[in-house]
């Protein structure tokens, strides 16, 4: 714990990034207990109001509180993206590490398969998955998981390969360590920093993909509070009341920016080469 504090003190950028991410995640998690208004409650007389004392960020076309819908939209977005990126990390990571460890035909065939999935533009593949499963929040989560699985596989295979060929793995083999032991206690721990960095950066990208999908009407469906959906609904009332659209977009930007900055700062802090240089 004290080591973490010392690291944060050494890197102000990392501290700022952690602050932004922790704040947003905490607000999303604790939303029901923080006294926000009901994100589903429609007050028709109060439609499309600008920011005011009762509705800090104004109201949308159905008179719902924009601030509450943004906070609940964070929950939708973070929930979808954490699950899907988590699944992609576990499946893709396993494929990448096994490919590096086993090598040979297994490696060649799985990496070829990953190449094929890679050949699709990311958003297009996600749209294809949703076309098959039907547009809803779960399809969007599965689509993001499918898209990010080969990315994790490729990202982790390279470093895992380097570790597999390192002297300490050869040493472990020489003293009779089994395959499971080598993977679990030698390869995995050495991949922790790259996993942290990449998960953070890919979460940032996944948040944008999720927002794009729900903006296109392919993700969460009304009346679920969703940032992308708020933007596409707000677009119809833009001249009349730009606030819901502007705030929803800012929220997406802030969320994605936080994770991107965190990934960037983590890379600077964890990368031994960069650390030696500074």
């Amino acid at each position: 714990m004290s080591a973490a504090v010392a690291t944060l003190r050494r890197s102000p950028l990392l501290a700022v990034a952690c602050g932004i991410v922790v704040f947003q995640v905490a607000v999303a998690l604790l939303a029901p207990w923080l006294g926000f208004q009901d994100p589903f409650a429609q007050v028709v007389a109060n439609r499309l109001k600008g920011p005011n004392a009762t509705n800090l960020l104004g109201t949308d076309q159905l008179g719902r509180d924009v601030l509450a819908r943004i906070v609940w939209g964070y929950r939708t977005s973070l929930f979808t993206c954490t699950i899907s990126v988590g699944i992609a990390l576990v499946i893709g990571g396993t494929i990448g590490i096994l490919s590096a460890y086993l090598g040979g035909w297994w490696d060649r065939i799985t990496m070829r398969l990953m190449d094929v999935v890679f050949a699709f533009p990311i958003l297009l593949l996600a749209i294809g998955v949703i076309a098959v499963l039907g547009p809803n929040a779960w399809s969007a989560a599965i689509a993001i998981a499918v898209v990010y699985t080969p990315i994790f596989a490729r990202l982790l295979r390279g470093p895992a390969l380097v570790i597999c060929e390192s002297e300490y793995v050869a040493g472990a083999r020489a003293v009779g360590a089994g395959g499971a032991r080598i993977v679990l206690s030698h390869i995995l721990p050495n991949l922790v920093s790259i996993v942290l960095v990449q998960t953070s950066l890919l979460l940032s990208a996944a948040i944008l993909v999720e927002a794009s999908l729900s903006f296109l009407g392919l993700g969460a469906q009304p009346p679920t509070p969703s940032l992308g959906l708020m933007l596409s609904e707000g677009r119809n009332f833009l001249r009349l009341a730009p606030w819901p659209g502007i705030f929803a977009g800012l929220a997406i930007l802030f969320l994605s920016f936080g994770f991107n900055l965190l990934g960037d700062a983590l890379r600077d802090t964890l990368d031994p080469r960069l650390r030696a240089a500074s």
Binding site: R112, L113, D115, V116, V117, A119, F120, P121, I122, L123, L124, I127, G128, I130, A131, V132, L133, G134, P135, S204, L208, A211, S212, F215, L216, G217, L218, L231, G234, R235, L238, R239, P242, G245, I246, A248, G249, I252, L253, S256, F257, N260, L261, D264
Partner: protein, 316 residues
């Protein structure tokens, strides 16, 4: 270029295209439930005759391998059958929607890739200065600004400032060149910004890498000017990773174009595929995804070859 290298790349290309086509082909078979009933149900009343008729028309009553062969050989001749609801050939619908997307993607790629070199080179040269830090933070923001939000905001700002200006929709360049370009400005900005941000960061780090190399020190030692060292010696070598990233970025562009088209009401491939999804027109969805993905694959093939031209070490 070595024949063997070229042959290997062509073989890779064929394998990837085959794999892509199989995945796209499988889509309609992976639909939970009966795809034919879902297609009909989304548009008309379901009767046994209609089900049988549509099933035969889409070819779903054939053995799987026969279906795949028919579909693949059709696709190779750009024959994707007739669209289920309009009765027009799918290839004609795609061809009509292709031009706006092509123009949008091409212009955005030119702007994003073109501007990223001077901006990245500037960041590398002015490292640590206040201006450079500002540009760097701007680059991270550019990466994380949702392009559809940027598009919506730009529409809001521009239409309030110039109420008479038409910024939505699409007119073909051949009909009204000025009107065409005028409507393209905002979508191109919205679409190219993330690419610009990404590529200029890449140029920056590649240049910083190159500036530390021996050949740059040699160039300096023999008295080349700072400008010449930056733009000739360092930049040329920094371009090698850059070319690959431009190829990858085209994939993001094609995806981003779908979203940006929706924002600016441009009748391109994105609108086509979204419309097809909402009416459950699976053959049209498949054909559009296949065409877009295949063009992305070909772009990357070209990039691979270009890469080998730039970097002789790859050709082995």
């Amino acid at each position: 270029m070595r024949t063997r290298f070229l042959l290997g790349r062509v073989l890779d290309l064929a394998l990837v295209l085959l794999g892509v086509s199989f995945i796209v082909f499988s889509m309609i078979r992976l639909v939970p439930g009966d795809a034919v009933q879902i297609m009909l149900g989304a548009n008309t009343e379901i009767t046994p005759e209609r089900v049988a008729e549509l099933r035969a028309r889409v070819g779903l009553d054939q053995p799987l391998l026969v279906q795949y062969w028919d579909w693949l050989s059709g696709a190779a001749r750009l024959d994707f059958g007739t669209s289920i609801w309009t009765g027009r050939p799918v290839s004609a619908e795609i061809a009509a929607a292709m031009w706006p997307t092509l123009e949008l993607t091409l212009l955005a790629t030119l702007v994003g890739a073109g501007l990223s070199i001077p901006i990245g080179a500037f960041m590398a040269r002015a490292r640590g200065s206040g201006a450079e830090v500002a540009v760097r933070v701007g680059a991270i923001a550019g990466l994380t600004i949702p392009s559809f939000w940027l598009g919506i905001l730009s529409i809001l700002v521009v239409t309030s400032a110039f109420p008479g200006l038409s910024v939505l929709g699409y007119v073909p360049f051949t009909e009204d060149p000025l009107g065409n370009l005028q409507r393209m400005v905002l979508p191109v900005i919205a679409l190219s910004l993330p690419m610009l941000a990404n590529l200029s960061r890449l140029v920056r780090s590649a240049m910083l890498d190159a500036m530390g190399q021996d050949y740059v020190r040699t160039a300096r030692a023999k008295g080349a000017s700072a400008r010449r060292v930056t733009y000739v010696h360092a930049l040329r070598n920094a371009l090698i990773p850059y070319v690959t990233s431009v190829g990858v970025a085209v994939g993001y562009m094609l995806g981003g174009a779908i979203v940006v088209e929706q924002v600016f009401a441009i009748p391109g491939l994105g609108r086509l595929v979204l419309g097809a999804i909402s009416e459950r027109n699976y053959p049209l969805v498949q054909a559009t995804i296949l065409v877009m993905t295949a063009s992305f694959v070909f772009v990357n093939f070209a990039v691979d070859l270009l890469y080998a031209v730039l970097d002789p070490r790859v050709r082995r």
